[in-house]
């Protein structure tokens, strides 16, 4: 089977492997179940963080992201990744370098110092868009891979910002009222629910989480409140940084503002893992700051 | 890249209703472009006999621009379409006689596209500058 599988160089980023390893474990297994092989991208680094690096020196950001791209080019493979922040860095720098000769020449001058050259031969994909793409996986195949439907659970979707926006550069179209992630959630048997201002940012991006935590959390708190308003059992996203903000953020919000939320936060790959029959232990869900148990009770 | 000081000789044969009007509009809007192109006005690009263009190259032209209305916009229904077919064939003739077919260009600029006319002018001059003087130049005269 694996011979006919789609193969990608798996770009891990930082937060998934180093804070939520369950996402990494889930991604490799769940994607294999639907015909995708994720192969190690040896020696990859931080994408680097678009907020932190882009804010202080865009040219360093270009060069560092280009290095990661070259690693994939050397494998003669496209990149698949699981984080919106990584997507912004890796996809967007790839896009810019492909379309701007001046920028590419500048980057290559720096890469020459470490015997590398960016050629623009690799494409970059978020695993979630590969799941949705019927030419690769598609909602139907995804649904067929489900062993334990998440029936009876209400799940809010958080799209995050850096996957689909800015819309004019990306290829996702509608960034005001998208529904494709809801389709991905529905494929697992869960009920996707709509809530107010669903496209709002988690609050963490652009270095704001590090710069002014209370400010970032206030945005997060607004989103969590909007989700609670319609009653959800969990929120799912495709960005470990958003996950960190929602998950650890709930503890921080309680500590700083005295407001309590209890919404389990699951990366879509964790959700998919559960639906495909992985156990909570196999996903290290105990590492989550917000107890996932109430959600598990609904579905198990 | 040719000598910076070299001034190419480029001739534009353009239709009265769209491209000539568009060029006038560029003037009204004071859109600045390189001064290397000389225009001849015809009523329609359909009037342009391919022999005119061969004559221009024979005379040593470095480039020829033919510009008319957008398809479907021709004042005479389909003159521009016929011109485009002729230019397409002519390009293969140019290649056969060893002339870079980029020296002949056909564009479609409407009466409302002054800015586009400026872009076309700039672009044509740039292309011809990159190609350098026509190899036929020495046979002229």
């Amino acid at each position: 089977m694996s011979g006919s599988n789609h193969q990608y160089a798996f770009f891990l980023g930082c937060i998934a492997p180093n804070r939520y390893p369950g996402i990494e474990a889930a991604a490799v297994r769940t994607s294999k179940n639907v015909g995708i092989d994720l192969l190690p991208l040896k020696g990859a680094s931080c994408c680097p963080a678009p907020g932190a690096f882009g804010s202080i020196d865009l040219y360093v950001w270009y060069a560092m992201a280009a290095r990661n791209l070259v690693l994939a080019e050397q494998m003669k493979m496209d990149i698949a990744l699981i984080c919106n922040g990584c997507y912004k860095s890796i996809w967007e720098v790839n896009h810019k370098l492909k379309h701007n000769d001046e920028l590419r020449d500048g980057v290559n001058e720096v890469l020459k110092e470490i015997d590398m050259e960016y050629k623009g031969t690799a494409d970059v994909w978020h695993l979630a868009e590969l799941y949705y793409d019927p030419k690769i996986v598609g909602v139907k195949k995804l649904a067929e891979s489900v062993r334990r439907p998440l029936t009876g659970s209400k799940v809010a979707v958080h799209y995050g910002c850096h996957l689909m926006k800015p819309a004019k550069e990306r290829h996702f179209g509608n960034t005001e009222t998208p529904m494709w992630m809801e389709e991905l959630v529905a494929a697992l048997g869960a009920e996707p629910v709509q809530y107010r201002n669903k496209m709002q940012c988690c609050g963490a991006g652009g270095g704001v989480r590090g710069y002014d935590l209370a400010h970032a959390l206030d945005i997060t708190n607004e989103k969590l409140t909007n989700m609670e308003e319609v009653g959800v059992d969990a929120v799912t996203e495709v960005c470990p940084f958003c996950q960190l903000q929602f998950d650890r953020g709930q503890l921080e919000i309680k500590e700083k503002f005295g407001t309590e939320h209890r919404i389990p936060v699951l990366h879509y790959n964790e959700l998919l893992g559960l639906a495909q029959g992985m156990s909570p232990d196999e996903l290290a869900l105990d590492l989550h700051a917000v107890d996932v148990e109430p959600f598990l009770k609904k579905i198990l | 890249m040719a000598d910076e000081n070299w001034k190419p000789k480029i001739i534009a044969i353009i239709c009265n209703w769209c491209s000539y009007a568009g060029a006038d509009l560029a003037g009204g809007a004071r859109i600045q472009y390189p001064p290397d192109i000389r225009s001849i006005r015809v009523m329609c690009t359909g009037r342009i006999d391919p022999l005119f263009i061969l004559k221009a190259f024979q005379d040593g032209a470095d480039g020829v621009l033919v510009s008319g209305c957008h398809f479907g916009d021709c004042h005479y229904l389909e003159g521009n379409f016929k011109a485009a077919k002729r230019m397409f064939l002519l390009k293969s003739v140019l290649k056969n006689i060893g002339l870079d077919d980029k020296r002949l260009r056909m564009t479609f600029v409407s009466a409302s596209e002054g800015a586009k006319w400026g872009t076309v002018m700039t672009d044509v001059v740039k292309t011809i500058h990159e190609l350098g003087p026509s190899p036929l130049k020495e046979f002229a005269k």
Partner: protein, 673 residues
Amino acid sequence: MAEVKKNEEPRIGVFVCHCGTNIAGSIDVEAVKEYAKTLPNVIVADDYQYMCSTPGQNKIAEAIKEQNLTGIVVAACSPRLHEPTFRNATKTGGLNPFRFEMANIREQNSWVHMHQPEEATAKAKDAVRIAVAKASLLEDLVPKSVPVEKTAMVVGGGVGGMQAALDLANAGIKTYLVEKSPTIGGRMSQLDKTFPTLDCSQCILTPKMVDVYRNETIELLTYTEVEAVEGYIGNFDVTLRKKARGVLTPKEAEARGIVGGGCTGCGDCANVCPVIKPNPFELGMAPRKAIYIYHPQVSPLIYTVDFDACVKCGLCVESCGDKKAVDLEATDEFMTVKIGTIILALGYDIFPIEKKLEWGYKNYDNVITSLEFERLICASGPTGGHLVRPSDGETPKRVAFVLCAGSRDSTGVGKPYCSRFCCMYSLKHAHQIIEKIPGAVPYIFYMDIRSFGKQYEEFYYRIQNEGAKFIRGRVASITEDPVTKNLHVNAEDTLLGRPVDMEVDMVVLAAAIQPTAETEKTRRLFGVSCSQDGWLLEAHPKLNPCGTTTAGVYLAGVCQGPKDIPDTVAQAEGAASAASIPIHRGQVELEPYFAQCIEEKCAGCGLCVNQCPYSALSLVEKNGRTVMQVTEAKCKGCGTCGGFCPGGAIWMQHFATPQIVAQIDAFLLGGEE
């Protein structure tokens, strides 16, 4: 039959215009003049501040007489501007006006190379040399005079088209008024009141509709579309498609021998019709039957069958009885009419504002468009003039108006231009809810209030005084409360510098306007250009705003660009006046750029015949040989045949092969090194 006219030795006069500093500012006019003197055939060269002035023109006429000139070159602005002027001057000097050639050294030189005087001067010299080469080979030509059909046509029966048709008819010109929908009246008939006078739209429009219907000089053709157009100014052949209406007018009934029959507009048919469809006139907010009229004031008052919806049950036929007006087997009919001049008054559509997803139109019940507001606030509308929330039928108290909804938008989803009347009608809407709903507050989200017309700024003051609230900020997004269906309008009050979250009961989007779906097809039929935004292109934005580049075709109303009612009517009257001129003169002169066959070169191959888009060419037998012959009245002078003839046997008057080749040679072989 043309032959290469052996000119006597050419004697050319060259005149270089300064155009104040427009030309002289970046071109060395003196140098160009001196250069001209060195050119072959040039007898005299002169310059003048403004060649188009009377003294300038006199110079030309005098030089022709004094120097016995055979050709004139003026280096000045674009021939599209002043060629007629200088042709006249040439004629005044006693020379055939077609012995004049213009070198464009302003629009295509001094204005576009303002900072390169040396290059601009060199280019001007080349332009003069090219023009002299052509002028040396120019020949006498005589314009062809053709009679003008004393009939006009107006396409589009909105207020602009109606006005134009009335003006033409009242000037004694038989006029066809062609309208695609079953009634005239257009957009204006959908409006409740008009700004700034607040008079009732229907009240001022219906008398005009009746005037049109009653006017014997107007032939009103509703439910009719233009199918094909042939010919040229004075002699258009327009083919019309009379769409199958399924209902006979009294006249049509009489023609079929049904005495006293035909539709009287009684409506018995609609009463029995079992098929219900949304009424497009009410923007789908009210029903109509498969046999219908838009509204009670339609003109003509004749019902129409929607054959896409009709189930042909025959109940209507039965109910119509002896009038026998309903014909369910009707098919489209075609007619061709001869027309002298044509006015296009094609109107506009509303931009599909649901494409701006952030405002939730069609997603949130209580977000409506301004045109829907007009119907809802109109006493004859679907709610009898009671403005209600679509979600629950409640009367809204807080209403937000979103201006520039899709206008002044360069994202590609939306229109870059100002739609020009949204500010004013939104002010009017604000007035209407204050007047009709006690305690209601309109909130107007605007970027600029463009109240440019007569009494418009005063109207703005009035609405402000009546209590409308103005928030200077473009609406960023609208969200809906899922329970109350109230709307949260998010924007920045840019004057306060604070974000606004305003909860309202209803939002009205002042959606941008765009050319109608049929405009593109129609303009191509008539050979009219459009600008990049799709609006039809006038011949000159300032000096010929009603004309087009196709002689005999004129523009009225919004199809030329956004306009309010006063401007539309004014342009319609202008277009009617322009369109009546050729008809009253009775004849027009066609530029004599005809193709001619050089018979001794013609091999009779006939390849050119298929090239001609106007079927102006044919093969004939002459002196035992097959040669091509041109029907001058059909030839429009494009030269497509001349560009194709393998034997060089076609002589394009004024654009003849030797003339063009002389221009090419003059540029490439003749210059200074």
